[in-house]
């Protein structure tokens, strides 16, 4: 993974010093809360319902074991012993004291981490496929480019006061695990040319996707961008947006609205015209820098192993629980004899994405012993050990079980994305976490979970859609009806390469009814499905009518 050099170290240390000064000015009363607000937001510090919340950047979701230990330490020393992994591959602490935040940032800087641009109207932490570098269907490791973008966007003097926040995601694989169609800019690494697989590598550039109150699927504005022009093209898009994006209405300020209002073709024209001026100019990455960064992401020294590991196959025969976990929580590795292991942060009855300090420390130890000291964070709020030998899987699993990290539910009905909701968030209309917890209790039978197959439930506590409900196969949106929490259900959303926005199925359900409604939807699918069909496949084949009929039949 990428390592800081002296420049990167100096930069984050200077940032800590700057924030220490700003926090001191706030604590002494020199700055009012209102004056302090832009400073804290630039450092990921929000004022939430009950306390400050600190969001720490985990660039493109890659962590070393050393960094994970530091995150555990911060949870223990400065917070209440846990952290929350987010849909943007970051971690949030919900209870830090303002006077401690400069020290927390200094501790993060020691392990090459920061909280820069995890909030505010700037280019946010860049996300990427959590299986970068280990997925077989990958053209190139997207983290190389995510790191280039991270550096270019860090305190960018022109783009730190954009109309609104700006999110960039990169994928290098055919299967889109980074939801690139739902970002302000999505970059898909592609090969140019005739489709014979030998063309030059570059990017498909997708702009104007997003969720929130106006969900939109991004538009491809350039099918192929040579990779040496990445930064000039990004600068062109950002400049057009910075100058023309709406600033009169907070809810219409994202780039998706600009693209929608001027039209994708006209927007593309403006970007291309601006790019003509910037292309090949000083903004481009200096020669040699791509290679320098690329070297950090070179494949590790894998052992040469047979594709099939007899001991692993034998264990699956002997141990049914292990076999089930292996079937659901492993992802095929491009290297023979290895596996990618998903650690579920969605055990029954717990808030999705939370990890305790003890779990984080244990995961760091397991990463050291089994996964070349590396960990990934997924946008679906789970963790990944990317480099595990198949021969070690059973031993690893045995250690994960008592830690509560071996729930065999990745991609299944209880692997729910949920925003913090009204339990923490000042914007929320309804609670999200308790709904998720109730669904995991309702579907607590592993055999049933497996039978239901892939099903993505995503829950947001308000229209800002932090819980990605628009792209849930089943989406749940919390709404406030005369002071009471209600939940509106959408069906058919999809964050992947077959992107779709879910459609509202009918009137909202009360908090007491919503879990029953989910169960009705699941049972309807089970009744209707044809062999091999996932929930989404069945929904696409039969449409909403049968689901609607069952849901509202008794109303």
């Amino acid at each position: 993974m990428y390592r800081y050099d002296e420049f990167d170290h100096a930069f984050v240390n200077e940032r800590v010093a700057q924030f220490r000064d700003q926090a001191a000015r706030r604590l002494s009363g020199e700055l009012t809360e209102e004056e302090f607000r832009p400073h804290r937001l630039m450092n990921g510090l929000y004022l939430q319902l009950h306390a400050y919340m600190l969001r720490v950047a985990i660039p493109y979701g890659t962590l070393s074991s050393r960094q994970m230990r530091k995150l555990a330490h911060i949870a223990r020393r400065y917070d209440r012993g846990y952290g929350h992994f987010t849909t943007r591959q970051n971690i949030q602490y919900n209870w830090p004291a303002l006077e401690d935040v400069p020290d927390i940032l200094a501790e993060l800087a020691e392990v090459e981490m920061h909280a820069i641009q995890t909030s505010g109207n700037c280019i946010r932490n860049v996300t990427a496929d959590q299986f970068s570098g280990v997925a077989a269907d990958e053209i190139e490791d997207p983290r190389i480019y995510a790191e280039i973008i991270r550096q270019w966007s860090s305190l960018h003097p022109e783009f730190s006061f954009l109309p609104r926040k700006f999110k960039i995601a990169v994928t290098g694989a055919a299967e889109d695990r980074a939801a690139v169609a739902f970002h302000d800019i999505g970059l898909r690494i592609v090969r140019d040319g005739n489709g014979e697989g030998d063309g030059e590598v570059g990017f498909e550039v997708i702009v104007g996707g997003g969720q929130g109150r106006t969900p939109m699927i991004g538009k491809t504005i350039r099918p192929f961008l040579p990779k040496e022009h990445l930064l000039s093209y990004l600068e062109a898009i950002l400049r057009v947006y910075n100058l023309l994006g709406r600033r009169d209405n907070l809810f219409k300020a994202r780039i998706k609205i600009l693209v929608h209002e001027v039209g994708a073709a006209a927007f593309t024209g403006m970007v291309e015209e601006e790019w003509e001026q910037l292309k090949g100019g000083p903004v481009e990455l200096p020669k040699g820098e791509l290679e320098r960064i690329l070297a950090y992401f070179a494949p590790p020294a894998y052992e040469r192993l047979p594709a099939v590991t007899p001991a692993f196959e034998a264990k699956k025969f002997e141990d049914r629980a292990f076999a089930r976990w292996a079937e659901v929580n492993l992802f095929p590795h491009k290297q023979p004899g290895y596996a990618v292991v998903n650690l579920s942060l969605k055990p029954e009855g717990e808030p999705p994405g939370d990890a305790t300090a003890a779990q984080m420390d244990a995961i760091a130890d397991l990463a050291d012993r089994y996964s070349l000291s590396e960990i990934r964070v997924t946008h679906e709020q789970n963790l990944v050990l990317p480099y595990v030998r198949q021969a070690d899987l059973h031993a690893l699993w045995q250690e994960l079980v008592p830690l509560g990290l071996a729930t065999a539910n990745i991609g299944r009905v209880t692997d729910i994305i949920a925003c913090p909701g009204l339990d923490y968030c000042s914007l929320a209309n309804a609670r999200s976490i308790p709904v998720a917890q109730q669904i995991t209790r309702r579907f607590n039978d592993l055999t049933r979970i497996h039978d239901i197959d892939e099903l993505k439930i995503k829950i947001s506590g308000c229209i800002n859609a932090c819980g990605h409900h628009h792209v849930g196969h089943i989406g749940i949106l919390g709404v406030d009806k005369k002071g009471e929490e209600f939940y509106q259900i959408t069906l058919g959303g999809d964050a992947t390469q077959t992107a779709a926005i879910g459609a509202i199925i009918g009137p909202a359900f009360s908090a007491a009814e919503v879990v029953d409604a989910v169960e009705t939807l699941v049972n309807t699918y089970v009744d209707l499905r044809e062999p091999g069909e996932r929930f989404l496949d069945t929904y696409r084949r039969v449409g909403p009518a049968p689901f609607k009929e069952k849901l509202y039949a008794t109303h």
């Binding site: 200077e14 109207n121 006061f161």
Partner: protein, 167 residues
């Protein structure tokens, strides 16, 4: 308004004049873009330096052809959140080659000095003269930058390659 120029508080010779106000004789004046566009020839014939004020929605292109006749361009920041002026400034400096004074006016705070400087500003109207004391520290707060703009600072990405070449 106190003016920071050359890194310190500075006298201001310029007079800002509205759309309908009379022009003071023989003094450098800053006029709104609309007035400049309407009275360009008359204003250009004055015996004193001319400046134009751009509001945050005004485009650099609107004065690109006139820059040879302008000694100052003021760019307004109506709130700290409105960052259009950063792009406008870079375009004036880096694309249209403006060499005169580029002045940030409106809501200008110390925490934006570095960004503004990097985008080509060299003068700053501030609400409070004490901001001048913070100016030098603000510009020195980061020794490392990651972008190449018109300010001449060499980004880390290039320094690494220079160093590698020297080894």
């Amino acid at each position: 308004m106190p003016l920071i120029k050359g890194g310190a508080l500075s006298d201001d010779d310029w007079v800002s004049v509205g759309d309908d106000e009379p022009l003071p004789a023989d003094r450098p004046v800053i006029v709104p873009l609309k007035r400049w566009q309407a009275e360009r020839d008359a204003l250009g014939g004055r015996n004193a330096a001319m400046g134009v004020r751009l509001e945050s929605a005004d485009k650099a292109e609107a004065i690109a052809a006139d820059l040879g006749r302008l000694a100052l361009v003021a760019i307004a920041f109506p709130t700290f959140r409105d960052g259009r002026g950063f792009s406008t400034a870079r375009l004036l400096r880096e694309r249209y080659g403006f060499k005169g004074e580029l002045r940030a006016v409106g809501n200008v705070f110390r925490d934006q000095f570095l960004f503004m400087h990097r985008c080509g500003f060299d003068a700053y109207e501030v609400a409070d003269a004490r901001e001048a004391e913070a100016f030098a520290a603000a510009l020195a707060s980061f020794s490392v930058v990651y972008q190449r703009t018109g300010d001449g600072r060499v980004p880390a990405t290039a320094l690494r390659q220079l160093r590698r070449a020297a080894e």
